[in-house]
Structures are given as structure tokens and as C-alpha cells.
């Protein structure tokens, strides 16, 4: 009975995330369809990845005909933050969680679901797993809808949907940058280096995946060196 209650409140809490995911996934589906990725493949990528920035970066590499190594590396770097989230979640799961339960929980770690789960001091597995199904449905459904109807939209609407994902990224970076000068410096530095690499003659031919990797590793590395976190930060 307790289990059912926790799972149900997880499902309830996840409704806004599911709606947001549906809207943003339209853009991913549209982008995939424009690159001639079949609808089923776009949907499958969304169901199996459940990560906006990671699969977006991945499809950029795919469409640029990057190698599988470049694809794997790009997805790994872009999604590296999940390592951090999984580590801190492993500290907060209720005691006595079985390995297969951890394996299930792992699938559902996204920025938003993680943020919701962190609202609990101890995270019950049933609550976490309740958070997952609706966002998966929203993310996959939005992708398929975007891939199917996207190309029939007028160009102005396509352009508008195309920036939804970027809007979501900006919504994550800016508040953090406003609250923390080091994060602000990271954002400004990453923007500057990214523009430089994309426009300089010697690096303009660089594939987007490599550019994202280089910018991330260089800027995060410099920031970690110059502005390390205080000791107790988790």
C-alpha cells in the first residue's frame, strides 16, 4: 500500500515534466526528420536515450556522417553529468535497494527527473520509478509527432520549433550563471571558444561533435582548476 502511494505521487509530480518534454521533443523529431532519419529510428533514439542534449548532439554527429567513435565520445561527454547525478542519487536512495532496482532507476535519470527526486531527503525507489513513465511517453510521443508532422509545417513554424531545445538549454544555464560567478564565467568562456572554433579558418571545418567535446573539456577543466568547489560540495 505504501509502495502504491509513493509510485502514484511520483506519477503525479511528473506531469509537468511530461508536458514540457512533449513540446521540446517536437523539435528533436523535426530535426531528425529533416536529416532523413526515419520516424521509427527517431522515436527509438528518444525512448532508449531519454536525454535531450545527448541525443541532440548525437544526431548532429550522425547527420554529419561522423564515425561511431566520434558519436560515442560526443554522447559520453555531453551526458557526463549523468555520472555525477547517478553518484549523488546512489547516496540518497532508501537503504536495501536491490541491484536490479538500481538498474531500473538508472534509466530514468534526466536533469528534470533528478531535480524532482532530489526534493526528497531519502528517495524511495517506487517514487523515483513513478516519475519515469509519463516523461518517457511525452518525450517519445513528441519526437514521433515532430518527425511525422514537422515537414508539413510552414518554414516559419519549423524555425520556431527548431529553437525550443536551445531555449531549454538556456533555461538551465542562465539561472545557474546568475547565481554563481564561476558558472557565468564557464558559460561566457564556452560561448566565446565555441564561436571562435566555429569561425576561425583553421577550425571551421571541425565536426560539431568534436567542437562540443573540445569546448567542454577545455572550459570545464580550466574552471575546475581556477575555481574548484568547496570541499563539502556533493
Amino acid at each position: 500500500m505504501m509502495v502504491r502511494g509513493e509510485a502514484a505521487s511520483g506519477v503525479r509530480d511528473s506531469v509537468p515534466i511530461a508536458l514540457g518534454y512533449f513540446t521540446v521533443a517536437l523539435a528533436f523529431g523535426l530535426y531528425a526528420a529533416k536529416g532523413q532519419v526515419p520516424v521509427w529510428a527517431a522515436g527509438l533514439i528518444s525512448t532508449t536515450n531519454l536525454s535531450s542534449s545527448g541525443q541532440f548532439a548525437g544526431i548532429v554527429v550522425m547527420l554529419a556522417s561522423g564515425s561511431l567513435v566520434q558519436l560515442g565520445l560526443t554522447v559520453a561527454v555531453v551526458n557526463l553529468r549523468y555520472v555525477l547525478m547517478a553518484l549523488s542519487l546512489s547516496q540518497r536512495l532508501e537503504p536495501g535497494v536491490r541491484w536490479w532496482q538500481r538498474a531500473l532507476v538508472a534509466y530514468g535519470i534526466t536533469d528534470e527527473i533528478f531535480a524532482l527526486a532530489m526534493g526528497r531527503r531519502r528517495v524511495p525507489v517506487s517514487y523515483f520509478l513513478g516519475l519515469v513513465p509519463l516523461p518517457v511517453l511525452g518525450w517519445t510521443g513528441g519526437t514521433v509527432a515532430g518527425a511525422m508532422v514537422g515537414e508539413f509545417l510552414p518554414p516559419t513554424w519549423q524555425a520556431a520549433f527548431g529553437v525550443l531545445l536551445y531555449g531549454m538549454f538556456i533555461a538551465i544555464v542562465i539561472p545557474a550563471a546568475r547565481a554563481d560567478r564561476s558558472v557565468a564565467a564557464v558559460a561566457v568562456g564556452a560561448a566565446a571558444l565555441s564561436i571562435a572554433l566555429a569561425t576561425m579558418p583553421f577550425s571551421a571545418g571541425l565536426q560539431p561533435g568534436w567542437r562540443i567535446i573540445i569546448v567542454t573539456v577545455v572550459v570545464s577543466g580550466v574552471a575546475a582548476w581556477l575555481a574548484p568547489l568547496p570541499r563539502k560540495d556533493a
Binding site: 551526458n79 533555461a171 575546475a224
Partner: protein
């Protein structure tokens, strides 16, 4: 060009591995200060590098892309929700494209 099937397998496998391996193997917090700091800054560097300069070229004309960028940054600065920021950027792009294209 690698096959579509293998590309999907690589993306799914890498993404799930990053989430599952730490959760299954580590039950202690990371101690290394450089590593925790590096991981802390990664999301902001990644998201910025993916957005800039790409957002400017994602639309029909750079003007609408810049408008979307400016509106999104402004809305996010004033603490609007993820959905509001995303829709605001899309709305700004739509409006500029209607006016200019």
C-alpha cells in the same frame, strides 16, 4: 557512414552506461576535488557550446535566431520556467520570421 542501427545502439549504450555504472558500482562519494569540480561545470559548458553559435543558424534568417536567443536569455534571467523560456524563444523567432521572411 556508420549504419543507423549501430548508431542507435552506441548512443543508447553509452547513455545508459553513464547512468547505470556509477549507480551500480559506487556507494561512496567521490573525494577528488578536481573531478567533482570538473563534473560540476560540465553541463553548463556543454549546453552553451551546443547553443552558441548554432541557435543563430537554426532559423531561416540569423535575425530571428538572435531574437530567440535574446528573449530566452532575458526570460531565463528573470527566473521563468523551462517551458516558458523555450516557448518564448520560439515565439520570438516566429514573430521575426513573419515580419522579415
Amino acid at each position: 557512414m556508420p549504419s543507423l542501427g549501430w548508431s542507435i545502439v552506441v548512443m543508447a549504450g553509452v547513455t545508459y552506461g553513464l547512468r547505470a555504472v556509477p549507480l551500480l558500482l559506487f556507494s561512496k562519494p567521490i573525494e577528488n576535488r578536481f573531478v567533482t569540480s570538473f563534473l560540476h561545470y560540465v553541463p553548463y559548458a556543454v549546453l552553451t557550446a551546443m547553443t552558441i553559435p548554432a541557435i543563430v543558424f537554426a532559423t531561416t534568417t540569423p535575425y530571428s535566431g538572435v531574437a530567440g536567443l535574446v528573449v530566452a536569455v532575458a526570460l531565463a534571467w528573470f527566473g521563468r520556467s523551462l517551458l516558458t523560456v523555450a516557448l518564448g524563444a520560439a515565439g520570438a523567432v516566429w514573430l521575426v520570421e513573419i515580419l522579415l521572411v
